[in-house]
């Protein structure tokens, strides 16, 4: 059997871009022992950090013993997906990243947090093209990404975590995506409340401080709210896709929508403003006595 999937127009970090990827996931998710062609003939733009999403989907297809091929890749898309090493993970070539703007695509085991930490330091924060950032800003960026990795590790119910990033120099932004397949926020929250909750309200609940689906002796529910507080100061953006829910927050507010299709996993995309000049060094004026 053979199945061909066509990617059209622009695949960007927005609702429409995620919808195209989720549609591909849905059309292929039950395939086994198939030959799958990804046709990029009419695709004019592919935002490189979304390689993490595409990689997670292809990885699942390969796990289900399908063979996946890329057809008609336009030169500019082939170039960026070679530079970020995405294509070399699927039989293609890798290419030198002359401008130093790509954070390579990687597939991690969920226990790989030490390797992941080094990857953030060595591949993202050491990008030669990044503007000079203060050490506290770098630290906050690293901590934010690690919070998401740990979240995926804790709640993802999956063995792999996929990530990829891209620096967009004209915008002064780095987009970094982390993807896990397996459970969704909707499933976790529905299980916790023992009732069916829609994906968007489930995401909205999960991002609130102190909200956690954990029930043991370790408190939680602060990682995402800490990330959102920082992103607000940084004037960045956070997008969460889980199940059929899409949720986004940036400096102009919060948006949410529902996809037609369902994604059996969670995508978190964080857009950092790397031209941020906030100091992030807090005065620490509050008394440190009796802090408990």
């Amino acid at each position: 059997m053979s199945y061909s999937h066509e990617f059209n127009y622009r695949i960007e970090n927005n609702f429409s871009g995620y919808e195209k990827l989720i549609s591909f996931y849905n059309k292929t998710r039950i395939l086994m022992f198939d030959n799958i062609q990804l046709d990029f003939n009419h695709c004019t733009w592919f935002e490189a950090n979304l390689s993490a999403v595409l990689g997670a989907i292809i990885s699942k297809l390969q796990y289900d013993i399908n063979s996946v091929h890329f057809d008609n890749l336009p030169p500019q898309i082939e170039s960026i997906l070679s530079k970020n090493t995405f294509l070399s993970n699927f039989g293609g070539e890798s290419k030198a990243d002359t401008y130093g703007t790509t954070v390579p695509y990687r597939k991690f085991q969920k226990t790989d947090q030490k390797i992941f930490t080094s990857y953030i330091s060595n591949e993202l924060l050491s990008l030669p093209s990044l503007p000079v950032m203060s050490e506290p800003l770098k630290k906050k960026i690293k901590e934010c990404i690690l919070e998401i990795f740990i979240n995926a590790q804790t709640h993802g119910n999956t063995s792999n975590i996929f990530s990829c990033g891209q620096f967009y120099p004209k915008k002064g932004r780095v987009d970094f995506s982390i993807v896990n397949l397996g459970s969704t926020i909707q499933k976790e929250v529905s299980k916790y409340f023992n009732q069916e909750i829609q994906a968007v309200p489930a995401i909205q609940w999960a991002i609130e401080e102190g909200h956690t689906t954990r029930t043991g002796n370790i408190p939680g529910g602060i990682g995402l709210s800490t990330l959102l507080s920082f992103i607000q100061l940084n004037k960045g953006k956070v997008q969460i896709v889980s199940g059929d829910g899409y949720w986004q927050r940036n400096s102009s507010g919060t948006d949410y929508e529902t996809f037609q299709d369902y994604f059996d996993g969670t995508i978190v995309n964080i857009e950092f403003n790397v031209n941020d000049t906030n100091s992030y060094i807090l005065s620490g004026e509050e008394s440190w006595d009796n802090i408990f």
Binding site: Q113, K114, T117, P136, K139, K140, K142, E143, L146, E147, I150, N151, T154, Y192, F193, Q195, I197, Q198, P201, Q204, W205, E209, G210, H211, T212, N217, I218, P219, G220, G221, I222, G223, T226, Y280, I281, L282, S283, G284, E286, W288, N290, I291, F292
Partner: protein, 141 residues
């Protein structure tokens, strides 16, 4: 040697009973970097290791200083397991008496304060949290 009172605790409710006994003043310093073997305190597992060390010391009547010297990176997952978890067993009063945090950067102090605040709420509402948020969700929908 200083003589100090020893406390026994009612599990999970943080009630402190003074039993009038005295003991030799003991203080343990746990250096996080040495305990976890790296400068990044990230995982819940590493947080649990620190929690277990602190728990053991407090249960033996000792005071504990946790040193974050040379820790350059920290997540709330680590702090929830290491510090937040303590509120499931000990009261704020006892922790203020027995526990000290040293060598922590000012930016990390802010994060730790948040972890402590959320942990107190978590254990305060642990039994009712499901019901309370159930109502909130229905209202939002």
């Amino acid at each position: 040697m200083t003589q100090i009172p020893i406390f026994s605790l009612a599990r999970n409710r943080g009630i402190i009973y003074f039993n009038g006994a005295t003991m030799t003043d003991k203080k343990l310093t746990v250096v996080v970097h040495e305990l976890i073997g790296e400068d990044a305190a990230i995982s819940t597992e590493d947080g649990n290791s620190l929690y277990e060390r602190v728990e053991k010391a407090i249960d033996k009547g000792a005071s504990v200083a946790i040193s974050f010297k040379n820790i350059h990176l920290m997540t709330t997952a680590f702090l929830n397991a290491a510090i937040g978890q303590l509120y499931g067993k000990y009261s704020s009063e006892l922790l203020n008496l027995k526990l000290e945090i040293i060598d922590l950067a000012d930016t990390d102090k802010v994060v730790l304060r948040n972890v402590i605040r959320v942990a107190k709420e978590y254990f305060k509402n642990k039994d009712q949290v499901g019901k309370r948020i159930d109502i909130e969700l229905n209202r939002d929908n």
